[in-house]
Symmetry: C3
Subunit: 142 residues, 3 copies
């Protein structure tokens, strides 16, 4: 069976970082629109102050993750980035680089294969609300 490609971008509005948004439904919708039922979905957030990961999207865990992200690189420390740019988001760049911009999710039987309590999330680390583009590439068979 021949391997097919499907690409599309989604846009998500995110609040001041760390803000965490569940994008599982949007990604699953792209899998449904694509002709692919088995393969791999690669997603990458465009921009250097965003990241992607998976988590149980439950308000408590989301707060816990926000705290841990903040501890990884706290706002208000003495960032070299500030000395040049003074835009207050040195911590945002560091946090995003450490979490990473991309993720792979398997596609099986026409849907994303995730755990019951596992959702794909986009994170804005910037110190202002951002509209984020996430590029999605699905490769697989019908």
């Amino acid at each position: 069976m021949s391997v097919l490609l499907y690409t599309e971008a989604i846009t998500i509005d995110l609040d001041i970082g760390p803000d965490i948004c569940d994008i599982t439904a949007e990604l699953d919708c792209l899998v449904e629109k694509s002709p692919i039922t088995k393969g791999n979905l690669a997603a990458t957030i465009v921009g250097s102050t965003g990241s992607l990961t998976t988590i149980e999207y439950e308000p408590g865990v989301i707060e816990d993750l926000k705290r841990a992200i903040t501890m990884l690189a706290e706002p208000g420390l003495d960032y070299e980035h500030e000395k040049a740019w003074n835009d207050g988001n040195g911590h945002s760049h560091v946090q995003a680089a450490m979490l990473g911009p991309s993720i792979c999710i398997p596609v099986r039987n026409g849907s994303l294969k995730l755990g019951t309590w596992q959702q794909v999330v986009a994170i804005n680390h910037d110190n202002r609300p951002r509209s984020r583009n996430i590029e999605v590439t699905i490769v697989g068979t019908k």
Copy 2:
């Protein structure tokens, strides 16, 4: 040469987290079973308290990584997740989200292309032993 797809899942039993298991041989076995000799292997752990990465699988380093993971989000802190669910694994969710669920490994000459001292590992962050499914998608040519 036409591009092919091969998918399969492996199951790994892991102990109370952080527990770290070398899955390189299992993944290499799937590459051998597949018709693909050149391309990319994407692996994703199913479930929100697991993660994948690479490391030198040597007992000392494994202990060092366990300590660093524990420091990233220590058990016993005041997690919001606990207030809702009281299942003791708030730290597990945070650790797993920060390490990330997926990885890409190149396939070259019919095998995984890794460093001599580089192994692929699955990590259980949960506060109880877990049987973990890892979905594997290999895309490439013969």
Copy 3:
């Protein structure tokens, strides 16, 4: 349109870790050499003391990221790896495993699709200069 595969490796010389090098131009060059204009580029650093991510490649942010990486696993702590190997790089292994060896970048209109201030970087965490191989796999259509 049929899906194509293109693979190649690049080699980067890196200084004592944490050293961070912008590899965006090298990766974009591979995309140009490949017949692929739309799809996904997967890159993986070979070796257990290296990692890949994206960041704004600006001297201030680079210093800030180096500091945060060092805090994640500081050199000179009591590493179990040292007791067995005494090669001084216990922290390098831990840092690299936490950042992760692989990344996916979308290919659109014949180029990498990144933010204006977003560059792909290779990081050496080792305690000596290293020449690093990065394996690149591009899958997509003309």
